[in-house]
């Protein structure tokens, strides 16, 4: 009797989740549409000028406006866009004159790889230095780790990019200055994007792990003769996992936004760079689609972190019950 009930509750939960997400995305698309409306700069004028290779006359702009359907009222245009987008048809880019859906699919792949690579850097570097910071006693090494993490979290991406290019590409000749070809070309973009996240993560890991390690049951474990590695892995980290996951969810969102700068500097043809060009050209359909894709990425990353958090919490709860039972 209990099993079907649980399935029903999970189903209800998933349905509410889907409605919530759709609502957020709808609000996001309407907001972006409104912002583009409010922004100065007429897409018809920009396109007419692009066609002419120079400033266009009012008559030419009107021709473009009618051709693109921009002469319809804003609400009609939004609903038209929504009807298309809900069937997966995002229209044709004003800037490149090609359907936006396939164009974005190509670029999404690049951006996802960039985010995934940077997330690996952030997790590996962030957790390793965080654990080191928690385990080390007060001393110059711990101070250096803390300072390093703070620096990594606050250094601007574009500055770090140019610095890495100067050192890795120009001085040492270890990788080309830009582009996306072999494994060597991944080093700089993934570092630039991953390092600030690693810095933030390192601090959270260090603080939460430190707290966890000061708990009585760790003292007990230590008294039972558990080694330091085992204590960190079995007792410390699982207890620090909650805050780390919450941060990781936000972090992926931050990485998505960071791709805008990194893709531009390293010439990776991803969604970030696509979005920047679309905004500059007032390419409304492409801006809409790009915002939707980034919004989806943000929401998914946060929800995924929530789900993982819940799973770990459940496990943690069970474990503490067991522990209580044991004592």
């Amino acid at each position: 009797m209990r099993a079907p009930g649980r399935v029903g509750s999970a189903g209800r939960h998933a349905a509410r989740w889907a409605v919530d997400t759709a609502g957020v995305l709808l609000a996001l698309s309407a907001g972006v549409f409104a912002l583009v409306l409010l922004a100065r700069g007429d897409p018809a004028a920009v396109l007419a000028a692009t066609r002419a290779g120079r400033a266009a006359t009012p008559e030419q702009i009107e021709v473009v406006r009618a051709e693109l359907g921009l002469d319809a009222p804003a609400l009609v245009r939004y609903l038209r866009w929504l009807a298309g987008a809900s069937t997966g048809d995002f229209g044709v880019s004003l800037r490149t004159n090609t359907p936006i859906g396939p164009e974005m699919a190509d670029r999404l792949d690049v951006t996802l790889r960039l985010v995934a690579g940077s997330a690996v850097v952030a997790l590996v570097v962030g957790i390793a230095t965080g654990v080191a910071g928690a385990v080390l006693g007060r001393g110059p090494l711990r101070g250096a780790l803390r300072g390093g993490a703070l620096l990594a979290a606050s250094v601007p991406a574009f500055w770090l990019s140019y610095l890495l290019v100067l050192v890795i590409a120009l001085r040492l000749g270890l990788a080309p200055t830009s582009g996306m070809a072999g494994p060597a070309t991944w080093v700089m973009p993934v570092t630039v994007l991953g390092l600030p996240a690693a810095g933030a993560l390192s601090r959270v890991v260090a603080v939460t792990l430190r707290e966890a390690l000061d708990r009585p049951y760790v003292l007990a474990a230590r008294a039972r003769g558990s080694g330091p590695v085992s204590i960190v892995l079995r007792d410390g980290l699982p207890n620090a996992a909650g805050p780390i996951l919450s941060l990781a969810g936000v972090m992926v969102g931050g990485l998505l936004v960071g791709t805008v700068v990194v893709e531009q500097i390293f010439g990776w043809p991803g969604l970030g760079a696509y979005f920047v060009h679309a905004a500059a050209a007032r390419d409304v359909p492409a801006i809409q689609a790009g915002a939707l894709a980034l919004g989806c990425g943000f929401i998914l990353a946060n929800r995924l972190a929530d789900v993982l958090h819940a799973l770990i919490d459940r496990r943690g709860g069970r474990r503490s019950r067991l522990r209580q039972g044991g004592t």
């Binding site: 290779g53 021709v63 140019y162 200055t177 830009s178 010439g267």
Partner: protein, 530 residues
């Protein structure tokens, strides 16, 4: 928007760094980084920087990069040095006495790279894609041509509604005029493959770059290189780094991979990179909005006299631009003679004193109103254009010296052209269009009220523009152009600032490259590497 400013800061930091690095290597003949790519063997591939992906390479659409389109497709008439028109796919042409008909004799035996012949039917098919089409109404030729006829396979006749002197020159521009193979579109007319008759044919075109290979069946002089690899690097500093690192062989030109004067200087110190400058084809000007304080001729005269354009060229362009004295740079056809202008701050103050603008404090006042001008600028430079912020600051400082207040108003680049068209400025920047459009296209957009954002338009200038456009012989055309320039100068209607420098950089191993005749062409016929 903090980003542009921070980019400038980053640029400064990296420049300082680059300087430190290169001075560190001292007297070494070349820095170590380039060693990996330089070899004794000659290469047959040229690697070229590209600032943005080239988009669909349809000559009848407007997304493709000018220079790639130029490499793949050819026109009937080509634009040569100093604006001289030369035979392209048309071997010769004749203009009827009444000026209302142009007959082209097509070059024999030319084929598109898909094997289709370049005959009158193919040319007519191409023209029919844009002549009279609403989408192309901005293009004057599309309205003036009333019929395209193909009386025999070797001859194409254009019938015009009125004599239109710039027509032949407009036949040399890139889009929509260049010829595409009729076989390269789908049954519904949709563009599919980039197939032309040019010296190069397309191998691939993606978001990261494009590859062209030599057209071995080319009718003209075949290039000596086999392959061109265009690499998309959106960030300007990153392109310069790639150039310095030997990853690119060629960069430059406003529509390919723009180089700023500061970047040019950072490259010019290197042994393995050659910096080339071409004769300028665009002038940068300051325009006035007559509705407002700049409606007073005394104010305009004072502005003209307060700006030391020689210093601007020297300080902001690091000596790579020349101060402007005309509407068009001297190499543009019919650019006339130098206007009598000069830096004269005392004269500027005198003009303002005489007109009743009295100096009390820093800013002059007339009838209780301070003399302050709104200087509208784009917050970030548009594609192919130079950063206007430093120039705006220099101009504001110069006008401040004679008591004219300046309020610099930066707006987003897309909004800039709207604000300028709506006249939301007292002074703002203007540029001429550059070859091959000039001078005819520019004078329409600069000096007629029909234009969206004219530089200076009065009934007199409009009349003179018509006279220049429809002049029937070169002598009367030159006279009409000069009369137009003199009329605008007599009104103190604009300030010529500098002729925009045309900067290109090639790696030392590249031989035979010359800065192209226009910024939309890329002639690599004689180029070799190694």
């Amino acid at each position: 928007m903090p980003r542009p400013r921070s980019l400038v800061a980053a640029l400064a930091v990296s420049l300082a760094f680059a300087g430190a690095c290169s001075s560190g290597s001292g007297g070494a003949p070349a820095s170590g980084a380039s060693g990996s790519t330089s070899g004794a063997s000659a290469s047959t591939t040229l690697r070229i920087g590209l600032s943005a992906e080239s988009g669909a390479l349809d000559p009848h659409a407007f997304t493709g990069n000018f220079l790639l389109l130029d490499a793949i497709y050819e026109p009937l008439v080509t634009y040569g040095e100093n604006g001289r028109l030369e035979p392209g796919l048309a071997e010769s042409w004749t203009v009827a006495k009444d000026g209302k008909q142009v007959t082209f004799d097509l070059r024999d035996g030319v084929r598109f790279t898909d094997g289709a012949p370049v005959d009158a039917a193919a040319v007519k098919w191409n023209f029919d894609r844009w002549v009279g089409n609403e989408r192309f109404s901005f293009f004057r030729a599309s309205k003036v041509i009333t019929a395209v006829e193909a009386p025999d396979p070797d001859t194409v006749v254009l019938k015009l509604s009125e004599p239109y002197e710039p027509l032949l020159q407009e036949m040399s521009i890139v889009r929509p005029v260049r010829l595409l193979s009729p076989k390269s579109v789908a049954a519904d007319g949709r563009f599919q493959n980039a197939v032309g008759t040019g010296a190069w044919k397309l191998v691939s075109n993606t978001a990261t770059g494009a590859v062209l290979e030599r057209n071995d069946g080319y009718w003209g002089q075949k290039p000596r290189l086999k392959r061109l690899e265009f690499k998309v690097i959106p960030d300007s500093q990153a392109r310069i780094d790639a150039m310095a690192n030997g990853e690119l062989d060629l960069a430059g030109g406003p529509y390919l991979a723009p180089i700023t004067p500061v970047e040019a200087r950072s490259l010019s110190g290197r042994d393995d990179v050659k910096l080339l400058t071409g004769a300028p084809d665009v002038s940068i000007m300051l325009g006035f909005n007559p509705k407002g304080p700049a409606g007073d001729k005394a104010v305009r005269e004072a502005v003209i006299k307060s700006i030391d354009t020689a210093s601007l060229a020297k300080a902001l362009f690091l000596g790579q631009a020349r101060p402007a004295r005309r509407v068009f740079p001297p190499d543009v056809p019919d650019s006339g003679t130098d206007l009598r202008l000069g830096f004269d701050p005392a004269g500027a103050a005198g003009a303002l004193d005489a007109a009743g603008y009295t100096l009390g404090g820093k800013t002059r006042v007339k009838d209780g109103k301070p003399l302050s001008l709104r200087l509208l600028i784009p917050a970030a430079p548009a594609e192919g254009q130079l950063d206007p912020r430093t120039m705006a600051a220099a101009i504001a400082a110069a006008l401040g010296q004679v008591g004219i207040g300046v309020e610099i108003t930066p707006v987003d680049a897309a909004a800039y052209y709207d604000e300028r068209a709506e006249g939301r400025y007292d002074i703002t920047f203007f540029e001429t269009l550059g070859a091959p459009y000039d001078p005819s296209s520019s004078i329409v957009s600069l000096f007629t009220g029909d234009a969206r954002a004219p530089l200076w338009a009065t009934p007199a200038t409009e009349d003179l523009v018509d006279k220049a456009l429809f002049a029937r012989d070169p002598a009367s055309r030159a006279t009409a152009y000069q009369a137009l320039y003199d009329a605008v100068a007599a009104d103190a209607g604009f300030v010529p600032l500098v002729y925009r420098p045309r900067l290109w950089a090639v790696r030392g191993e590249v031989r035979g490259f010359a800065v192209p005749a226009t910024d939309v062409d890329l002639d690599l016929t004689g180029v070799t590497i190694g």
